[in-house]
């Protein structure tokens, strides 16, 4: 930890986002995820001799929308270049990408970290085609699935403006939410629709020059990314501290082992021999197209954060977390119309609902109807039940259609507010535990906690805390 006071970590990200177009970038094949191998490809995306690419206009539109959302300048005349390298998942032995004239450049994304806003620069957003997938099959060697060949991607490159794993996570969550709100990507990380390469270097605080960076690939979950950053930061510090130098290299994150290993160094890095693809025409984004795109932008995470904080009085960091998942935000908006305490709803969603969602098998399935949650929150906000009961109820009715009220009825979980009933319990506690009163009167204030604990034990948590406290105080007076 002490090293973090000396060293600063500098991170830039390259994020690949698969676009949710119906067809591939250069042919009419569908882009559906999970189809049987080699059932969604044609001579064009398989790079058969004599085939030619025809650019899917939607890809330009989606990339431009991502550019507008990140405050970038859009190109008026973009170009597509060939990136040449040999690999079996790349049937043409070149990837059509953009080198010199990307769709969008010079933008930024604002993120919230620990209550502060940080502005992260976006270097560029360019379009490119995805490669196929190699399937390593023990018996038959390596098989190739070309289905993913030609699935459109945008690569979003950030400036080296990120300084911690927390910032990286906030940036990625914001970016992922953004592409989902834009409707340009499913954002599904488990399907590879949102992937990230991390460029990382360290330097001493106060230094302005960058250290030598490494690039880590194959990071496909937020948890891996955080771990990989911690591990790589520690590794680089160790190298420097022991008098060595960090080598510029590409490293592959091994999630199973929790370590990264060098893939290739700068010396044997590819010379991709980029050159303009002569099969494709310039991409023209004229003023008219820009204006029409800008006029038809959907509301984005920042717009919702603004709305939630102003309209519902929700704290910015809670609003930020709420909007990071579009499905959750949409759910919130339906529920919030039916509840009296929006702040309680937001907090409950970001704790209990998120926890229950994470426990399920499907990542983002919400196991409670709008009406179920709204009535649960209204019971809690009107103090008919307390929050710990509300949590318990949420647990039990998750993935059922039981209404909170019915469950509370059937399990008899309503709090005991009747003073006479509670007095009987209080007397039982005090009679059975005479030391509580004597300790308390002797100055041990923690004896009050023991009293409340016994009250809750006896009433199975249903004793109303306010009334119970009042009874105790009354007993002391006597």
């Amino acid at each position: 930890m002490a090293n973090n006071d000396i060293y600063e970590v500098v991170i830039g990200l390259e994020v690949h986002v698969e676009l949710a177009t119906e067809t591939k970038i250069f042919c009419g094949c569908p882009t559906t995820f999970g189809a049987a191998p080699n059932t969604q490809c044609c001579p064009v995306c398989m790079g058969m001799p004599g085939t030619l690419p025809v650019l899917n206009e939607k890809v330009v539109e989606y990339a431009a929308r991502a550019g507008i959302a990140t405050h970038c300048t859009l190109t008026t005349r973009g170009r597509q270049d060939r990136k040449n390298y040999f690999y079996p998942d790349l049937p043409k032995a070149y990837q059509i990408s953009q080198s010199q004239l990307p769709i969008a450049e010079h933008g930024y994304l604002d993120i919230q970290v620990e209550g502060n806003t940080r502005r992260i620069g976006i270097t560029r957003i360019h379009i490119e085609e995805d490669a196929g997938k190699l399937v390593h099959d023990g018996g038959e060697g390596t098989l190739i699935d070309y289905n993913r060949c030609g699935v459109p991607l945008i690569e979003i490159v950030s400036e080296p403006d990120l300084r911690s794993a927390e910032e990286v996570k906030a940036y990625l969550q914001k970016l992922r939410a953004m592409v989902m709100y834009l409707g340009v990507s499913s954002g599904k990380m488990n399907e590879g629709a949102f992937r990230c390469d991390v460029n990382l270097s360290i330097r001493k605080h106060g230094e302005t020059a960058f250290g030598t960076r490494t690039e880590m690939k194959n990071l496909n979950s937020f948890a891996f990314i955080a771990k990989a950053i911690e591990s790589e930061t520690a590794r680089q510090i160790k190298v420097i501290e022991s008098g060595g130098q960090v080598t510029q290299e590409t490293r592959r994150w091994d999630a199973a082992k929790g370590v990264s290993a060098a893939m290739r160094s700068k010396e044997d890095a590819h010379d991709y021999r980029y050159f303009p693809d002569p099969d494709l025409m310039p991409i023209i984004i004229d003023d008219e197209m820009q204006a029409s795109l800008r006029a038809s932008m959907p509301l984005l995470p920042d717009d919702y954060i603004d709305q939630y904080t102003k309209q519902y009085g929700i704290k910015p960091e809670v609003a930020d977390a709420l909007v990071s998942d579009k499905a959750v935000a949409e759910y919130f908006e339906s529920v919030v119309k039916e509840v009296k305490d929006a702040d309680m709803l937001a907090n409950f969603m970001m704790t209990e609902v998120k926890r229950l969602m994470a426990s399920g098998e499907e990542e983002s399935a919400i196991g409670m109807s709008v009406h179920q949650l709204a009535s649960l929150i209204n019971l809690a906000s009107s103090e008919k039940i307390n929050l710990s009961i509300a949590k318990k109820v949420a647990d039990k009715i998750w993935n059922t259609d039981i209404l909170p009220k019915d469950y509370i009825d059937s399990e008899d979980l309503w709090p005991i507010v009747d003073r006479t009933v509670l007095e009987a319990f209080a007397d039982q506690v005090l009679t059975q535990n005479p030391r509580i009163l004597s300790d308390y009167l002797g100055g041990k204030t923690q004896a009050f906690g023991a009293y409340m604990g016994q009250m809750m034990r006896l009433t199975k948590g249903k004793a109303d805390p306010g009334v119970s406290e009042q009874i105790f105080m009354d007993r002391i007076q006597k």
Binding site: A93, I144, D271, D279
Partner: protein, 483 residues
């Protein structure tokens, strides 16, 4: 005397002949002499006869068919076909059958063309003599001890030898015009974008263009409209109206202005070729055209720019032949790298490897600006020089090649000598313009000499009208010029 497409069409329409009879005749010619000529890599006798019979049937039932219907033709073997292999005369594509067909093939089939087979070429269209075919040698029908030119050597030789009425070739730096010239037939490289490249196995994407080779300019004017037109699946295809045959041949040439670039008549040009082309210029004057010498100083940079651009693009286009998905794969390998190296090393011939190396070098980090980028700048200069010339002229007249057909092996020691053969043809591809090759005589050994007419983009009509007027001047006045 071979009949023209117009005459064959009339004979088919009148019932004087049938497509079956014609197809049998051409198949017999192939059978009889192609052992000697070596134009064909693949002959599809069965398919051609079946197609001919179908067309005869349709004609008999009273259907009105297009001028190309029922007429036997053949394709350079770098155009994808479904029912025949497409090898590009390379070992690396031995036995390869494409899963789709080229746009030109679809268009020709719709026109009722009878496809006899696939024709020899320099491997992947790289070369000017067809000596770089993995499979066979093609001989020049005018003198079988000489090359037919290339890379569309099979396409030109087949027409010259009467083994097909017409053929398609592809032209990246002269590959239609030069073999047409060497074999004494007519060849047209259309404007870049005029004919879809879809299904043409790419050599250099920004330069490649498919075009026809036939016995006469008149025939070319029947073929061009049939293969031209916008293809939404080729992003570089031009969405422009396609002129009909009568328009293509019907322009009045008597007021036309023809430029003779002095740079194209200097050192290295065989004397008899120069004389024949200048004589053709005189003939145009006698037809009323104005001929004037012009200075085009940037043309001398076209050849190096061409070899950089074409090789750079080729190095990338041919990277897909890696032994993984289709085509030749080496017998044994011990790693992925080994698979690539051996498959490509064994599958490609020397000339193709030379171009891949040259292109890879030109695109490499640190050399890109000095070579590829500079070549692109030269390209822009050449384009504007042509634009300037065409402000005052309708066409540029020049030789097609510095020499007539040479002996086999003449340039095998020195590839640069072979590259110099392309000096008059490559500027046309660099500028994306149409270029026509027309026979304009023979040298003292009886070898054909070709002249080249270069026109404005999408103005094939001027070129074909000029070529047609030249041909017709011999018909009408008799071949009185002493030729």
């Amino acid at each position: 005397m071979q009949k023209s497409i117009r005459e064959l069409h009339q004979a088919l329409e009148s019932g004087a002949t049938t497509s079956t009879a014609l197809t049998e005749k051409y198949l017999a010619a192939i059978e009889k002499q192609d052992d000697q000529i070596g134009a064909f890599l693949h002959v599809d006798a069965e398919g051609a006869l079946k197609r001919a019979a179908e067309l005869d049937e349709r004609r008999k039932s009273g259907e009105r068919l297009t001028p190309l219907a029922g007429i036997p033709m053949a394709l350079k073997d770098n155009m994808c076909t479904l029912d025949m292999p497409t090898t590009c005369a390379s070992r690396i594509l031995e036995g390869y059958v494409s899963p789709y067909e080229a746009d030109v093939v679809t268009r020709l089939k719709a026109q009722g063309a009878v496809i006899l087979g696939k024709l020899n070429l320099d491997e992947f269209a790289m070369g000017g003599s067809t000596e770089h075919s993995y499979y066979k040698m093609t001989r020049n029908p005018a003198d079988t001890s000489r090359v037919p030119g290339g890379s569309s050597g099979g396409s030109a030789a087949a027409v010259a030898a009467g083994e097909a009425v017409y053929t398609l070739g592809s032209d990246t730096g002269g590959s239609i015009r030069q073999p047409a010239s060497f074999c004494g037939v007519a060849g047209l490289k259309p404007t870049y974008g005029r004919v879809s490249r879809r299904g043409l196995v790419a050599f250099a994407s920004s330069l490649d263009q498919i075009g026809p080779i036939a016995r006469s300019v008149e025939d070319l004017a029947y073929i061009l409209p049939a293969i031209s037109g916008y293809d939404p699946m080729d992003s570089t295809s031009a969405n422009r109206p396609v002129d009909r045959t009568d328009v293509l041949l019907g322009k009045d040439v008597s007021k036309m202005r023809i430029a003779l670039p002095t740079a194209f008549f200097g050192d290295g040009l065989q004397k008899e070729v120069k004389e024949a082309v200048l004589k053709a210029a005189k003939r145009y004057e006698s037809l009323g055209a104005q001929v004037e010498e012009v200075d085009m100083p940037t043309l001398k940079h076209a050849l190096p720019a061409y070899y950089l651009i074409s090789s750079a693009e080729a190095s990338s286009n041919l990277a897909r032949f890696d032994g993984v998905q289709y085509g030749y794969r080496t017998e044994s390998f011990d790693s992925l790298g080994d698979l690539y190296k051996k498959s490509r090393g064994e599958g490609f011939g020397r000339e193709v490897k030379r171009r891949i190396l040259l292109g890879t070098y030109a695109l490499s980090s640190g050399y890109y600006d000095a070579y590829y980028q500079k070549a692109l700048k030269v390209r822009t200069l050449i384009q504007s020089e042509f634009r300037r010339i065409f402000e005052g002229f309708d066409a540029v007249l020049s030789p097609v090649a510095p020499t007539t057909a040479y002996k086999f092996g003449a340039h095998s020691k020195n590839p640069v000598e072979m590259y110099l053969e392309d000096i008059y043809t490559v500027p046309v591809n660099i500028a994306g313009l149409p270029g026509l090759s027309v026979n304009c005589g023979v040298d003292s050994e009886g070898l054909p000499i070709g002249m080249q007419l270069i026109g404005r983009a999408f103005d094939e009509a001027t070129l074909l009208s000029l070529g047609y007027a030249y041909e017709q001047s011999f018909m009408k006045g008799g071949a009185s010029d002493g030729e």
